[in-house]
């Protein structure tokens, strides 16, 4: 980070971790939870929504934004992303519960600005999927412009942790490192072992604290974290694809009395939607990604709609610095594939991901008392012809289409060169959960594929 030359750009808005006051006048308000309000004002005070109503009277001098003819919705929430972090995978063990991507936050990532330019105000910065039990994740607010990584955190958001099933942990550890898990059987046992040891660990400390035992137990952050999951203090977000492995994890969780789980990707979630609903598990899916590996070959773009109609709290995520820029469009696809209503479709990127991250009492809908996180669009956000007009985080304007400079970098790497775009050059897609682990894959079948992908356009 020291090599960065810090350059402060003049944004025309607050760069600080500000909690602003702003009046948004006369917009078409999509509250998500309480219907739509025509020609209505929203007043944000100290970063919180203070009033919603017609012709609001606010203190003189309040910054005012005329939203006549515009669409005002809650800031979009992405329940699965890897932007704004400098590391994704600690791919050294099938269980790395002790690590935390919150220790690798990068406020200079221009992807944060590009996400804001798609109305996204909160993302769930996740550990990757190399390990069955990956690291802990961080829910961040897109306060682009802050320089201190700490100021990206959404303080008070519940702790979350990444789990992963299927091909990725199998490839990395079974095929790459020649250790279990090499199959979906092995993956199950990673969880059973971790939870059993975590339970014993918690018991040892409980006994010690009660004075039943005298010797201080060894402190172990990995087991400590697992014990916190067992206590219900951490929400599991589990990378998963196939119906069978989803059922497996729900069974394991049931055996250990764990309730808080959101399945990520969950391409075959539609096959076990009734089971997910009964368990109370939620699902965070792609709108239409499939076929990039065998475990997503039997997918359908109707996944989000089927899950929704079966009563599963469902969100649409990006897992990508590209898709995160147009989650409103990804949500709109559920109207073509599954006929969801406007409210159902918009819930997929607002209140539902908020529920999955445990922050639904603070964000995800436009209600008095909630955070002043707002996305304002030129046309209805589910129309292909809409464009983001303004994005507000905690009452501070962080994206303004009228004040948009092409170069929005905060830090400039003097050695930076043109980076040819991965997808554009190769057309290849991949869930981005395997970043940082190529070295572990060099002996696997997958390696030839990756070598191919990353060597595209090399002239030999």
């Amino acid at each position: 980070m020291t090599k960065y030359l810090l350059t402060l750009l003049v944004f025309g808005f607050q760069l600080s971790f500000g909690q602003g006051n702003i009046l948004i006048k006369n917009g078409n308000i999509l509250t998500i939870t309480k219907g739509n309000l025509q020609s209505t004002d929203i007043y944000i005070e100290n970063g919180k929504i203070a009033k919603i109503g017609k012709n609001l009277i606010v203190p003189e001098g309040t910054q005012t934004m005329d939203a006549t003819g515009l669409f005002v919705m809650p800031g979009i929430i992405d329940a699965h992303s890897h932007i704004a972090i400098d590391a994704v995978n600690e791919a050294t063990n099938p269980n790395t519960a002790e690590v935390n991507v919150g220790d690798a936050l990068n406020p200079f990532d221009v992807s944060i600005y590009r996400a804001l330019a798609g109305g996204v105000t909160i993302s769930h910065a996740m550990h990757g999927s190399a390990n069955a039990i990956g690291g802990q994740c961080e829910t961040i607010k897109h306060r682009y412009g802050v320089l201190n990584p700490e100021e990206l955190r959404m303080t008070g958001a519940p702790r979350t942790i990444k789990f992963a099933l299927g091909e990725n942990p199998i490839r990395v550890h079974g095929e790459g490192n020649k250790i279990a898990p090499a199959t979906r059987m092995g993956v199950e046992q990673v969880f059973r072992q971790a939870f059993s040891e975590g339970r014993l660990y918690a018991k040892r400390w409980e006994d010690y604290n009660k004075g039943i035992t005298k010797n201080t137990p060894n402190y172990n952050l990995r087991l400590e974290t697992i014990a916190d999951i067992l206590k219900g203090d951490i929400i599991i977000h589990c990378h998963s694809y196939r119906a069978d492995e989803i059922l497996m994890l729900m069974k394991v969780l049931k055996d250990f009395g764990i309730k808080k789980i959101c399945f990520q990707h969950v391409n075959e979630g539609f096959k076990v939607a009734p089971e997910l609903a009964e368990f109370g598990a939620s699902a965070s899916v792609f709108s239409d990604w499939w076929a990039y590996k065998f475990e997503v070959y039997y997918s359908t773009a109707y996944n989000a709609a089927i899950l929704t109609k079966n009563g599963v709290v469902t969100s649409i995520n990006s897992d990508s610095d590209e898709l995160i820029r147009h989650l409103y469009h990804e949500a709109a696809k559920t109207q073509r594939y599954g006929n969801l209503t406007d409210d159902e479709a918009l819930s997929l990127i607002t209140i539902n991901p908020a529920i999955q991250l445990g922050i639904e009492d603070r964000v995800g809908s436009l209600e008095v008392g909630k955070d002043g996180d707002i996305a304002i669009f030129e046309k209805h956000p589910l129309s292909i012809y809409t464009t983001p007009h303004m994005t507000i985080v905690d009452g501070s304007i962080r994206f303004d289409s009228k004040n948009d400079n092409p170069d929005m970098r905060i830090s400039i790497d003097p050695e930076e060169k043109y980076t040819s775009n991965f997808e554009e050059k190769t057309g290849f897609k991949e869930d981005n959960c395997l970043q940082d682990v190529t070295e572990y894959l060099l002996q696997s079948d997958y390696a030839s594929y990756l070598r191919f992908v990353y060597s595209k356009n090399h002239t030999h």
């Binding site: 221009v110 600005y113 590009r114 539609f270 096959k271 939607a273 009734p274 089971e275 009964e278 076929a291 590996k293 065998f294 070959y297 039997y298 359908t300 773009a301 109707y302 709609a305 089927i306 590209e322 820029r325 147009h326 469009h329 109207q335 073509r336 594939y337 599954g338 589910l382 292909i384 012809y385 809409t386 948009d404 092409p406 170069d407 970098r409 930076e416 060169k417 043109y418 980076t419 040819s420 775009n421 991965f422 997808e423 554009e424 050059k425 190769t426 057309g427 290849f428 991949e430 079948d445 997958y446 030839s448 594929y449 990353y454 060597s455 595209k456 356009n457 090399h458 002239t459 030999h460």
Partner: protein
């Protein structure tokens, strides 16, 4: 299969074979209902002809062609009539750059047929490897895409791509009358986050790459001279040289070369190189074309660009640079076709065009970029790219604007066949939306 054989002795070998076997059993039969042959009369539709305006009328399909477009067409007795009141007819969308039919599951190399080994293999024919039963093909049709250009990739001359219609049971049935040799112009940029070459290496590599294509072209020139002389002297060529044979029509200006180039600086070098060699080219990729519109316009080359839905290649680029790239080029008077550069998600072509429409291009121009423009660029516009009598009946009926996600495509015709809008993805929806049995009772 080489990779698999080398890995034998490893238990993974068996599971990989199992996957292959199960694939060969399952990669088929994605459409249950049969396609239906006309004649068809589509009555009272809003017809978006693209080339002759938008108007209310009837459209009559006979055999594989649009026979007639007019008011109140009287059709023969055996005609099936569709009442299209309140509905719209558009020409089938054309995606000018995909791997559809050549790629099935990206992470399993044996299911991918778009990247043969070799740096100079222009004779590799995509049409040979197109799998008419690829699961992705019906998935693509549901959004009104009827025709795609499927192309080989990787290295300098990876092969010859083919324009195909998305219906048919053999590659020949699908072939839409255009093939083109692909060239990947040497790229001087960093190739992604794993590329850690030094500045010096960048320079060396790029000089070497240009020398490589110069050498290839010198050989092609020599080969063309020998070939011409042999023809004059009525001699039969002594060597089998399919690579050179594939490039002869390009060298002689009879066929276009599709040249992939993206970075601004590379586009300029490519244009200069192509002009020097007097090559008839189409520039593809062109992700930074918006930065050098004047130079592209001056070169007179057409452009195939996309995806539109992509991140800019530079950190200092505007967030919407890729969205606006098409409109900047079209404004400069360049003829542009849009591609997704996709395999399984070619279905997003109308959404890519829709984003371009939103960011400066406008709906009408965006429609042209996925209909008549590609037909002209591939020189099949006598038969493709618009709704006109005499053209191939590739078209679809929708209940609204096909760029809007809310809109439904209700019917789709390819070469006059009414193709059911079913795919494995719709069938899975049918099976699982209300799954029976639901939850197991214990």
């Amino acid at each position: 299969m080489n990779i698999l054989i080398k890995k034998s002795g490893n238990t993974k070998y068996f599971s990989t074979i199992l996957i292959c076997l199960s694939l060969s059993l399952q990669v088929q039969a994605q459409q249950i209902k049969k396609a239906e042959k006309g004649p068809f009369l589509l009555k009272n539709a809003t017809i978006h002809s693209i080339t002759k305006g938008t108007f209310l009328g009837d459209l009559f399909i006979e055999d594989e062609k649009i026979k007639n477009i007019a008011q109140n067409i009287t059709a023969p007795a055996n005609t099936k009539t569709f009442d299209c009141s309140g509905k719209h007819i558009y020409p089938g969308f054309i995606d000018s750059g995909t791997r559809l039919g050549l790629a099935e599951i990206e992470s399993i190399s044996v299911t991918n047929d778009f990247a043969e080994l070799g740096d100079f293999i222009p004779h590799m024919k995509a049409l040979t490897a197109v799998n008419p039963n690829s699961v992705s093909i019906p998935v693509t049709r549901v959004n009104g895409v009827t025709t795609v250009f499927s192309k080989p990739e990787r290295n300098t001359f990876p092969g010859t791509g083919a324009l195909i219609d998305l219906f048919g049971y053999t590659p020949e049935q699908m072939y839409a009358g255009a093939e083109a040799v692909i060239m990947n112009f040497p790229s001087t940029g960093r190739r992604g986050r794993f590329d850690r070459r030094s500045e010096e290496d960048f320079k060396k590599d790029s000089e070497k790459a240009i020398k490589n294509i110069d050498d290839i072209w010198d050989k092609v020139a020599l080969y063309a001279r020998i070939d011409s002389m042999a023809k004059v002297q009525n001699k039969i060529p002594e060597d089998y040289n399919p690579q050179m044979d594939a490039l002869l029509p390009v060298y002689r200006g009879q066929k276009k070369l599709l040249v992939e180039v993206n970075k601004k600086e590379d586009i300029l070098v490519a244009i200069k190189w192509l002009r020097e060699k007097k090559i008839k080219a189409v520039l593809t990729g062109v992700s930074e074309g918006g930065r050098v519109t004047e130079e592209i316009k001056k070169s007179n080359y057409d452009v195939i660009t996309g995806p539109v839905l992509t991140v800019p290649g530079r950190a200092n680029a505007a967030y919407d640079e890729a969205y606006r790239n098409v409109s900047k080029m079209v404004e400069a008077g360049i003829r542009v076709a849009i591609r997704t550069n996709e395999a399984e998600n070619v279905r997003n072509l109308p959404f890519n065009a829709g984003f371009a429409a939103t960011y400066g291009l406008g709906i009408e121009e965006a429609l042209r970029c996925i209909t008549i423009n590609p037909a002209q660029i591939f020189e099949v516009d006598k038969l493709y790219g618009s709704l006109e009598a005499g053209k191939i009946a590739n078209l679809f009926i929708s209940d609204g604007d096909p760029f809007e996600p809310k809109t439904r495509i209700t019917h789709l015709f390819i070469r006059g066949w009414n193709v059911p809008l079913e795919s494995r993805q719709t069938l899975l929806n049918d099976e699982f939306l209300e799954r029976l049995p639901g939850i197991n009772e214990e």
